[in-house]
């Protein structure tokens, strides 16, 4: 499977809606990422034009924020916590286990664009450490069997949307 082709028209219509809006850049980039899962490089020049900014400047903003990605991500984005609390509770071995299970290193996306593996400095869920997120859902008090079942769950969901 490949990441979905960028629907150029869709992209331009999103950009148009923000044209000439003051302070519109970040919300616009968020809207694009929301739609496509990432900010495709082809968007940069049109975004710059609409915001009356230099394309190099827009690129700088995108690459400055960890929240924006310039590469397509998998259907499920895993964020495994490496914060102190999670570390103490064995977060490291959870991460290692997930890496092995998915065959991915940090920052990588599986070739079928099903999974992207990321880490976070703290998910703000220390009370349920060790924790991770899959897309917008939190999973706490992780143990190897729990991880396996979560991953299994997401694998099964495949194609549902």
């Amino acid at each position: 499977m490949k990441p979905a082709e960028i629907d150029k028209e869709k992209l331009l219509s999103i950009i148009e809606a923000y044209r000439n809006k003051k302070w519109g850049l970040i919300p616009l980039l968020q809207a694009i990422q929301e739609e496509f899962g990432y900010v495709p490089p082809v968007a940069v020049e049109s975004v710059a034009d609409a915001m009356k900014m230099y394309p190099s400047h827009v690129q700088g903003v995108i690459t400055f924020y960890a929240g924006f990605s310039t590469e397509p991500k998998g259907r499920c984005v895993l964020k495994v916590c490496r914060g102190t609390a999670c570390h103490v509770k064995g977060g490291k071995s959870i991460l290692r286990m997930i890496q092995k299970d998915l065959g991915l290193k940090e920052g990588e996306t599986s070739i079928d664009y099903q999974f992207t593996l990321e880490t976070a400095a703290c998910l703000g869920a220390c009370f349920v450490a060790p924790a991770m997120m899959v897309n917008r859902d939190y999973f706490g008090k992780l143990s190897p069997p729990k991880v396996t079942s979560v991953l299994e769950q997401y694998r099964k969901d495949k194609g549902d949307n």
């Binding site: 230099y54 394309p55 190099s56 400047h57 690129q59 700088g60 690459t63």
Partner: protein
């Protein structure tokens, strides 16, 4: 402004409110090291080199971003400051690569200087250099971002000074670097290779690509030898050669820290082997080297013989818009007094002197106020800017930066151009008119403003005449017809008129008008518009004409023209004439002489027997090369005095090697009217001599010994006789601008000097050409100046291989089945050229853009040589063509 007093290192200092601590210190000669600060960039406080200690609070603060406050007391070299500063440099050095030792920035690298000053050899830290690829595929700028300290100066220079936006910060943390869009190499980005970032970079991260390695022996101030902006340069010199060029970074100078690609990199033409180094004369059909004495003798003898045999008007003198004022002055004096002819002109004919003349004679005969806008910095005060037929981003790039900065600051800008030039893309209103239809556009805008009833009423009443008659024709002016001719809807014109109404306008009027077939009429229409809106040269308003050559204005001021004496005094004014005759001790002929075009025509009719050319290459710069060649071949004796072997010098009977701007002393007048004095910072190559000296030698040999004199004595003569060249003004605006600013126009009421409106003249409505379907627009690209003689020799400009492709629209490329890279033949009624095409978005249907100056300036083949501003002229900037795929 309030004054603040404070103590720095125990010394009492004062500064104006709002100054930073750094500025306060610098103002009193106290040095504080800086890396990310530059006087013309907004401070960001990125490097922390400029730390100082606040004695009262004990805080360590960055002086470049801390405003000086009353009664503050700071130390710039306290032990704590030094400790921190040392640590900062150590950390930077730890991130620096080993190649630092052999870096070509050498001793000019600020980081290395500070490290040495602070006694940092070994950092004692674990080195963690951040390796990057070295980028050096282009012949101008080498980027080794491993050496980047992230001071951000390059980025700020690119955004704030040259307003290009080619680079910005990319990524964050350890990966952070200045980078182009998608991290492409510079040549694939929007970079114009102005090199401004390279000269401002404090480290070796950005350095010039050059055959010269190491640090130049010395650096000398000079001025750019290319266009009329006249940027201040710092020339790096080694072994009597200019090996490096940088902007001089002088506050309030026209360019300060900026330059353009020509000025920065094109001066390497100075050292090419095609420089003329020996006098030569034609023997048996080919040129061979001779001594100066032999060459001068031949020139003097032949010119004298021809004058005696065929009369004074069988000789013509072509002076130079690239030579110094004193040289041009002496040259026209030789023509007028020595040879009794007014057959004298200069290359400025090609680049707009007729328009300067028009505005000057029409508005300022009594020198009351002037319509020239003066300094480019005035653009920052302008209420509205109107750019017509000009592409300053290419023709005069540093002036283009001023315009872009104005746009950024919110000044409304109107651009009238068939192409979407860079300025058109940024403008508030872009009037995309049909090529050559400017006359109707300006008339229509005037009519709209008149009908809105908002014009400079009191100005008109006091200082002009003929408004009633003019306004009558405006009220009956046919706007629909104008819309048809220009291709611009009345609504669009209304939008532009709304922006102009009630404002004083700064005009930038370029080649599209100057070389237009209705050049004179359009000039008059602009003048009417300026009169109606009271846009005199004051407060940023008035006319700017992009001067393509560094001394275009000066050559004109010096009287190197057929109808004017020095100081722009009309030849047919007997008062002016007698005053110059008295000074020169000889009679000046009365009849207006031949202009450049007239010289070619006279040569064709075998009326011109001798031509003395100083620093011009008419065979390349004039349209219709074949015709010019045929004409020149009919001339019995041609002298070419120049710095480079070129097309015209091949035809010469005598070649006299002259000196380039940095090899001689003299003054030049830039497009703002600023006088700039240069001195010889290197010797002319080989046996070459300064043009001033050569003219003197020729004059002397012809028996006019009074013309053999010193540059200083001429300067004296100029300053006494021409008010705008008065002494002590070497770096100020000449009097004419000063007067305009100082005089209160409302004080004067002299009926004699009223400026008259001219009548509305309309262009003919034409049928579309059935055979020649396209209109070719000929224009410049920033890599070349004028017809490209000098820039064409620049090794680096040649190495870049700038594209000469003919630009066509996407629509036409589809309709005619021509795509990017295809070769085409472009045929006009006059001639044909062959080139590749390139499909562009910025050009409309039915037009093609032909970059001039490439391939020996073959674009000129398309154009018929006609006298500019003549009623029969077809203009030089565009012509009907057809496109054949080959």
């Amino acid at each position: 402004m309030k004054t603040i007093t404070l103590t720095i290192n125990g010394e009492h200092v004062s500064c104006t409110e709002g100054s930073s601590l750094l500025e306060a210190a610098q103002g009193h000669g106290i040095k504080i090291p800086t890396l990310c600060h530059h006087h013309s960039l907004k401070p960001v406080g990125a490097c922390r080199m400029c730390l100082v200690e606040d004695e009262k609070t004990g805080r360590i603060i960055a002086s470049c971003v801390t405003p000086a406050a009353q009664k503050m007391s700071v130390l710039t070299e306290s032990p704590r400051v030094l400790k921190h500063r040392r640590n900062i440099v150590r950390l930077m050095m730890a991130e620096h690569p080993e190649s630092c030792i052999i870096c070509s920035k050498g001793n000019r690298c600020s980081l290395r200087q500070y490290a040495a000053e602070l006694g940092i050899g070994e950092t004692g830290l674990y080195p963690i250099p951040n390796y990057r690829n070295i980028e050096q595929a282009n012949p101008f700028i080498q980027r080794d971002l491993t050496k980047c300290i992230l001071c951000g100066k390059c980025i700020r220079a690119d955004h704030e000074l040259v307003v290009t936006g080619a680079i910005d910060y990319n990524m964050r943390g350890f990966d952070s670097r200045p980078s182009t869009l998608f991290d492409r190499p510079l040549e694939k980005s929007t970079c114009t290779f102005c090199g401004t970032c390279l000269s401002i970079c404090p480290t070796g991260a950005l350095s010039p690509v050059s055959i010269f390695v190491g640090t130049p022996e010395k650096e000398k101030l000079s001025f750019c030898g290319f266009c009329g902006v006249g940027c201040r340069l710092s020339l790096g010199i080694s072994d009597n050669q200019v090996v490096e060029v940088n902007p001089a970074h002088i506050k309030k100078s026209v360019n300060d820290a900026a330059l353009c690609v020509r000025g920065h990199f094109g001066h390497d033409f100075l050292n090419v082997k095609q420089r003329m180094t020996k006098p030569m004369i034609k023997k048996d059909g080919s040129l061979s080297s001779v001594s100066w004495a032999e060459a001068i003798e031949l020139v003097a003898d032949r010119l004298t013989q021809i004058k005696d045999k065929h009369g004074p008007d069988s000789i013509a003198f072509l002076g130079s818009s690239k030579c110094a004022n004193e040289e041009n002055y002496l040259f026209q004096k030789l023509a007028r007094i020595g040879f009794k002819t007014n057959n004298i002109d200069n290359g400025g004919y090609i680049s707009g002197r007729l328009m300067l003349d028009l505005i000057d004679t029409r508005t300022d005969p009594g020198r009351r106020f002037n319509f020239f806008a003066g300094t480019l910095s005035g653009l920052e005060m302008a209420e509205v800017i109107f750019i017509a037929g000009a592409d300053p981003s290419h023709s005069i790039p540093v002036a283009g930066y001023y315009l872009k900065r104005s746009v950024k600051n919110g000044t409304p800008v109107i651009v009238a151009d068939p192409r979407k030039t860079e300025m058109a893309g940024l403008a508030s209103v872009w009037l995309r008119l049909k090529p050559g239809s400017d006359l109707e556009l300006i008339n229509a805008l005037s009519a709209l403003i008149y009908r809105k009833n908002v014009y400079a009423d009191s100005f008109i009443k006091r200082f002009t005449r003929g408004f009633e008659k003019y306004s009558e024709s405006l009220s009956s002016y046919d706007l629909d017809r104008a819309a048809r001719i220009t291709g611009i809807s009345i609504q669009e014109m209304e939008r532009a008129a709304d922006l102009l109404v009630g404002k004083k306008i700064a005009f930038m009027v370029g080649d599209g008008i100057i070389k237009n077939r209705y050049g004179m009429e359009t000039g008059e229409a602009f003048l009417n518009l300026a009169l109606m809106t009271g846009s005199i040269g004051y407060g940023g308003a008035g006319f700017h004409f992009p001067a393509k050559e560094n001394n275009q204005v000066g050559a004109w001021d010096m009287g190197t023209v057929p109808d004017k004496l020095p100081g722009r005094q009309p030849l047919n004014d007997s008062l002016s004439r007698t005053s110059w005759e008295k000074l020169w001790g000889g009679e000046i002929p009365h009849e207006v002489g031949l202009d450049l075009c007239g010289m070619i025509e006279a040569a064709e009719q075998a009326k011109l027997k001798a031509l003395y050319i100083m620093g011009e290459n008419p065979l390349r710069s004039l349209p219709d090369r074949q015709r010019v060649l045929n004409a020149l071949e009919k001339i019995d004796f041609i002298v070419v005095q120049d710095i480079l072997n070129n097309e015209t010098s091949k035809l010469a009977d005598a070649v006299l090697p002259g000196a380039a701007f940095c090899e001689k002393k003299g003054t030049f007048t830039n497009m703002e009217g600023r006088l700039r004095s240069v001195s010889a910072v290197v010797e002319p190559p080989g046996d070459a001599k300064s043009d001033f000296e050569i003219i003197g030698l020729v004059a002397e040999k012809c028996g006019h010994t009074s013309l053999k004199c010193s540059v200083e004595s001429i300067r004296e003569e100029l300053s006494k006789r021409i008010p705008m060249y008065e002494k002590g003004r070497s770096n100020f605006h000449p009097v004419w601008i000063k007067e305009a600013i100082d005089s209160d126009p409302a004080e004067e009421d002299d009926r004699e000097r009223l400026i008259s409106f001219s009548q509305v003249v309309t262009a003919d409505e034409e049928e579309a050409d059935k055979e020649y379907l396209f209109t070719a627009i000929i224009g410049s690209k920033r890599c070349h100046l004028g017809s490209g003689t000098r820039t064409g020799y620049s090794p680096r400009i040649k190495a870049f291989n700038f594209s000469d492709a003919i630009e066509i629209s996407e629509q036409d490329s589809k309709d005619f089945g021509i795509s990017d890279g295809n070769k085409v033949r472009l045929v006009s009624r006059n001639g044909a050229i062959e080139r590749e095409v390139c499909v562009k978005k910025n050009i409309g249907r039915g037009m093609v853009f032909v970059p001039a100056a490439f391939n020996g300036n073959d674009a000129g083949l398309l154009i018929r040589l006609t006298k500019l501003f003549d009623s029969t002229s077809e203009g030089w900037n565009c012509c009907p063509v057809k496109l054949e795929k080959i």
